[in-house]
């Protein structure tokens, strides 16, 4: 197995998500370098999709901005490959099934490996359909990240048993970017069900994350994925987003320790 699990070895992992190419690939490149230096343990790089059905408004708009700016899968891989030596943390890509499938699943995973990307997250590919991706992932030593949701119930253990890398846990219903009312109990319960069958790290993905939620996540889970808050900061500040993004990450990181 690859190094993605190492990201969970030094305390609780902070996993910010950004949409590649929003507002430009040059800014994304800077964000990768700076976030890696300032607390990110894994960065989830979003490959924009025209129709992101599991995202709220913030990421939908970021995807459209990135596509309008001419971002393509090839340009993203090229940028990541170039900047990889300056980025110490682990990298994952997050996108939808269609961009992966149309690019060619084997070619996509080979490119990930070539660019030092050790995991892929594909929200519209559930357990039942992961065979579409898993052999190419295995061949290229890329972890295929599984997700669990509050509605997963009896499915949680089935998914956790086969999961690779880490488990992406969504403790509240809804698309990304919707303010959640997740309680400590929700998280404890979800993580507990995973723990009974697997020691895989659990990362909690919130809608909109603040310091209080970071503390909650850090209590029982192994990490926290920042779904749309970083994307919102980038949307608001555009080219000048680096500093506010870093300040936000530092605040979350300190709350998690």
């Amino acid at each position: 197995m690859n190094d993605i699990k190492k990201a969970f070895e030094n305390g609780k992992a902070l996993i910010p998500f950004i949409t590649a190419g929003d507002p430009s690939l040059a800014v994304t490149e800077q964000l990768l370098i700076e976030m890696s230096k300032n607390g990110a343990d894994i960065i989830a790089i979003g490959i924009p999709f025209s129709d992101p059905i599991a995202e709220g408004v913030a990421i939908q708009e970021a995807d459209l901005r990135a596509l309008a700016a001419g971002t393509t899968t090839d340009k993203i891989f090229e940028m990541v490959k170039g900047v990889r030596p300056q980025v110490a943390c682990e990298l994952a890509v997050m996108t939808y099934m269609n961009p992966v499938f149309v690019y060619g699943v084997d070619k996509f995973m080979a490119k990930c490996a070539e660019c030092g990307i050790s995991a892929v997250i594909v929200p519209d590919t559930p357990y039942e359909e992961k065979a579409e991706l898993s052999s190419a992932c295995d061949a290229n030593n890329v972890s295929l990240i599984s997700m669990i949701a509050p509605t997963s119930e009896d499915r949680i253990q089935m998914i956790a048993k086969d999961a690779q890398g880490f488990l992406f846990c969504i403790p509240s219903l809804g698309v990304a970017g919707v303010k959640s009312s997740t309680t400590a109990q929700d998280i404890d319960c979800m993580v507990g069900m995973v723990r009974s069958v697997s020691d895989i790290p659990c990362a909690i993905g919130f809608g909109v994350a603040d310091k209080e939620q970071a503390k909650l996540a850090a209590r029982t889970a192994d990490g926290m994925i920042i779904g749309s808050e970083v994307v919102e900061i980038i949307g608001k500040h555009g080219e000048n987003c680096i500093e506010p993004v870093i300040n936000y990450l530092k605040a979350l990181k300190s709350a998690m320790i």
Partner: protein, 394 residues
């Protein structure tokens, strides 16, 4: 593992949050589909409320005028609410009710599926919310008000191209947000399994009726069954019964907008490539990176960049063929059928009529074409007037 495949197409490509909901729906469907009580209840509604069976009408004037094959029109436009959509809504809403759901949501393009869902929700006492692209709420304003009259909330979707594709995106997001008390009444033979199968089964009453009605009138099978195709529910409903009868040619008519070779079209079979979107593997209009194309058709109901997985497989195996029909051809057919037979078809259905106008004269007088007239055209009158340069607003 993977379920609901038609050849290589289909599957269940949805977020984990929805998996238990679609599994639960699949279980409920297998439990009730052959349950005598459920079947009797649905049959009664189809007969007493929807007005089935719909007529199979011999279009004598059209046949004579075109001078070739005998033309029969399957009059789904005479269904209550004015289209075939009600067949599926009655089935799915009844199932949802059995599953204890109190609320239904749906996407709609032309508004026919939204109206049908709102109608059944009113009938069964369920809460109803419809998602419709903002562009479509403008070109189908009459249907928006119909849905409101029926007690539904209509959400105008302002993302993307603001048409059917975006309405499906938003309905899926809403289902993800609120799944416990809500069933998503998908309106076409698309989306994740079991929807393509369930919707096809509920619509297959169309083909079954065509077969028995034509047997009664002509004592034989038709040579051609044709229907318009967006997602493909009315076509699948008309085709399904005839799939084993290989002498029956099945033709789907898709929306070519300004022309299948122009940038403004929705001709998925002509221009689409294999992809995975909206829960299914099928053909989609998209670019080399898998970004879904902004498609176009004068018909809001056919203005969709994909096609149901069973159609994709029928095309792969050669069992059905799919032909592009332009806006102009559809509008001419809309006007032709109105003048010739006194029947104003939905602009969607007019795509099938247009191909019939081309095909019938090339066939012998003892051959038979059945055109599935999936809906009536009242909703389109203002838009067609505007297309013809009249200053008419609803």
């Amino acid at each position: 593992m993977s379920k609901g495949r038609f050849g290589i197409h289909g599957g269940q490509f949805v977020p984990e949050t929805l998996m238990n909901a679609i599994n639960e729906f699949e279980e409920a469907y297998s439990r009730y589909k052959d349950d005598p009580e459920f079947v009797a209840e649905l049959d009664t509604l189809l007969r007493e409320y929807a007005g089935r069976p719909s007529r199979l009408y011999y279009a004598a004037k059209m046949t004579e005028d075109l001078g070739g094959a005998k033309i029969y029109l399957k009059r789904e436009d005479l269904n209550h609410t004015g289209s075939h959509k009600l067949n599926n809504c009655l089935g799915q809403c009844l199932l949802a009710k059995k599953m204890g759901k109190t609320r239904v949501i749906a996407e709609t393009g032309a508004g026919q599926h939204g109206v049908a869902t709102a109608t059944v929700a009113a009938l069964l006492g369920m809460e109803c919310e419809i998602f419709m692209g903002k562009e479509d709420t403008i070109r189908q304003a009459l249907n928006v008000y119909r849905m409101k009259l029926l007690g539904a909330k209509v959400n105008a979707v302002e993302t993307g191209t603001m048409t059917l594709k975006d309405a499906v995106n938003e309905a899926m997001r809403e289902w993800t947000n609120r799944v416990a008390d809500t069933h998503y009444v998908l309106g076409s033979v698309m989306g994740p399994h079991p929807f393509p199968t369930v919707v096809r089964d509920f619509q297959s009453v169309i083909g079954k009726e065509i077969k028995s009605q034509l047997m009664e009138k002509e004592g034989r099978l038709p040579d051609v069954v044709m229907a318009c195709v967006g997602g493909g529910s009315n076509a699948m409903g008309a085709f399904y019964e005839f799939i084993p009868n290989e002498s029956v040619q099945l033709i789907g008519c898709e929306a070519a907008g300004l022309g299948a070779d122009t940038p403004k079209n929705a001709a998925t079979m002509a221009n689409g490539t294999l992809g995975i979107f909206h829960g299914m593997k099928s053909y989609f209009c998209q670019d080399e990176y898998g970004q879904i194309a902004p498609v176009y058709s004068i018909s809001a109901g056919l203005d969709y960049p994909g096609i149901g997985p069973e159609h994709a497989n029928l095309a792969d195996t050669g069992r059905a063929t799919y032909v592009p029909v332009t806006d102009e051809e559809a509008v001419q057919a809309f006007e032709y059928l109105s003048r010739t037979e006194g029947i104003i078809p939905a602009i969607e259905s007019a795509h099938a009529v247009a191909h019939c106008i081309k095909l019938a004269p090339t066939m012998s007088k003892d051959s038979i074409i059945v055109v599935n007239l999936s809906g009536r055209g009242d909703k389109d009158v203002a838009a067609i007037a505007r297309y013809r340069g009249e200053d008419l607003y609803e």
